[in-house]
Amino acid sequence: MDRRSWLSTFKQIVGMPDYARYLEQAASQPPGSATLTEQEFYDAYLAARYGERPPIRCC
């Protein structure tokens, strides 16, 4: 695996937001929907993750 995918793997395991991955997914979406900046994406990610149903950590 190249450095980019090691980083992505690490981020996903620890639960960090992965902006590069979001951009890849946004590129495959139909144009017209706004792409979030890194700052906005970070906020949206945290809001989604810790917002409505915060992740339950076990004992």
Partner: protein
Amino acid sequence: MPTAARSAHGAEPLEGEGEGGGEAWGDRLRSYGGALGAARRDLEQPVVAPYIAGMKALGWIALSVAGAVGWGVIGLSRGESISAAWLILAAVGTYLVAYRFYSRFLANKVLKLDPRRATPAERLNNGRDFVPTTRFVLFGHHFAAIAGAGPLVGPVLAAQFGYLPGTIWIVFGVVLGGAVQDFVILFGSMRRNGKSLGQMAKEEIGPVTGLFAMVAILAIMVILLAVLALVVTNALKDSPWGIFSILCTIPIAIGMGLWMRVIRPGKTVEATIGGVILLVLALIGGRYVAESATLAPLFTHGGVTIAWGLMIYGFVASVLPVWLLLAPRDYLSTFMKVGTVVLLAVGILLVLPPLRMPAITSFGDGTGPVFAGKLFPFAFITIACGAISGFHALVSSGTTPKMIRRETDARMIGYGGMLMESFVAIMALCAATALDPGVYFSINAPLGSLGGTVETAAAQIAQWGFVVTPEQLSGLATSVGEASLLGRVGGAPSLAVGMAHIFSGAFGQQLMSLWYHFAIMFEALFILTTLDAGTRVGRFMLQEFLGHIWKPLGQTSWYPSNLLASGLVVIAWGYFLIQGVLDPLGGINSLWPLFGISNQLLAAVALCVGTTVIIKMGRAKYAWVTLGPLAWLLSVTLTAGWQKIFATDPRLGFLAHAKDTAARIAAGTVDPTAGARMIFNDRLDAALAGIFMIIVVALLLASIREWIAVVRGRKAAEVKEAPYVETAYA
């Protein structure tokens, strides 16, 4: 959408359905091509298969034999101390065999995982919570979510009975119970677009049941937070090194938060690495603080002060913006958690310490100093998370089911993830039983029973049947940089001593005190993260309830509501925490069994839901996979609950303890106000245990009614799954 919905699994797409004839044809061609390819592979199989199949079979036979040898050595070693290697061999051999055969049976016959069925991550992909994730990464993510202090504390406490009962329950309990529960619930939630356990209970069994389940979940969360906070408090009591290091983690996390959002937005990995470096510096700095005459008293605090500190921290952390404290702590503690578990595994494998604790001690009769209760049922209650944990059902119906890429991944993630957690429990058991038994009891028995000095402690331990000298005890405390290790109940300090022995044996002899405080800090770090995250989860649950009473309270964006709900949750667990700190029996004695019982009862709830799902899928003949562990769990937890409430031994039964305290107040040996508070707490604990038991029995009866109705045919066996959509992946 690229794929057309099918009317039933495997049927042709209905005419007129689908986005366009061309696309549907394209899919059919693709899947036909896939089928053709598979057929061709099948034709190829007979030529290549027997050789490979034979080698694989030999491999599994060898592994089974190795595991059996491990068990054999454990079983046949009467009296001699055996090496941890045999425990690990037996455990790992059993896990692998169970994974290969039992989980495959569950996946193929009972749950029927379908690799051609699109998962919610694929169908509802939004780049945030519904994100298809490769199975190895998701395994790590799920494991990081379920791993915590539970598998570290429970087995250490249960070592009171010797290493054998703990080992047997950790290994066979997980293979037949815990991993099955996690797997089935993960599967159920995945098929329902990531619904939570409470929601599944509501939909599959009944709305009242769902409500009961949610109440139980909130109560269990409060007890969990209180117990974990107590573990941290006991570890940090009168320890300037420890308190300094842990206090440092707060500004470090805030610094990370500011870095990741304001200074260099998005650079999360950078910030985490910086955080880890600062943490190590804080750890080393702690030694100087402890040895300095001016700074040490500043950081030396008793249990009550620490408890209040934790409560204030929990409240503040759960209302501050997530990016500032919660998220950075989360990253830091997850990173440390996974890293330290790996380090411990490497350390144990390098050192392979001999186990000094006997296989079975005499304390199985209920006279044990660490906690009261006979081997049955309390060995199983105490171990909780290492073998089967109801809390995992909450995690398995949390973020993970929304990230599964292909249904068949659920086997590795659900079943395999729990096996890994169980392995952590085995390692904790090895670390604790590698300690000299006299040392183990000097740390884990409450201070009151030890007498307070190393001399009285050594004398008392000799009465229990283990030899240790006062010099050994004071020497050990000095070597780890503490004033005293006596009566530091809660599992964390003794585990830290065990880990320090192992790490210094594997990595560096001179660093004993550093390893000890590293072990304490690592466990305290993620307990604290569990505290603030758990308070936040509890706050959301409570707001959901309160919203039904008065609408504005349910709005999670309304700040006053957040403050109120957070405050209530913190007061709830803070109450039990203070109760535990002031308890002369050490707090763990009464709180950990309460946690264990409630945790196992939640597991029983999850298994009820799992059984309902299996029966409603029309596979009632396989329902024994969840009914078996359910029956066992119910017998263990209901017995334990009954004994905790009604047993006549004041060390064991809450009501008996209340009666005993009342007698002592009358006799004048106990202060009336303190005594009245203790009596109230005993009755409260008894009431809690009773309420849990009633909720679970009610849920069980509601479930049984549902099962009988479906099996008898009075009710249709229909599941409320998301409709079948074929996957677009190859």
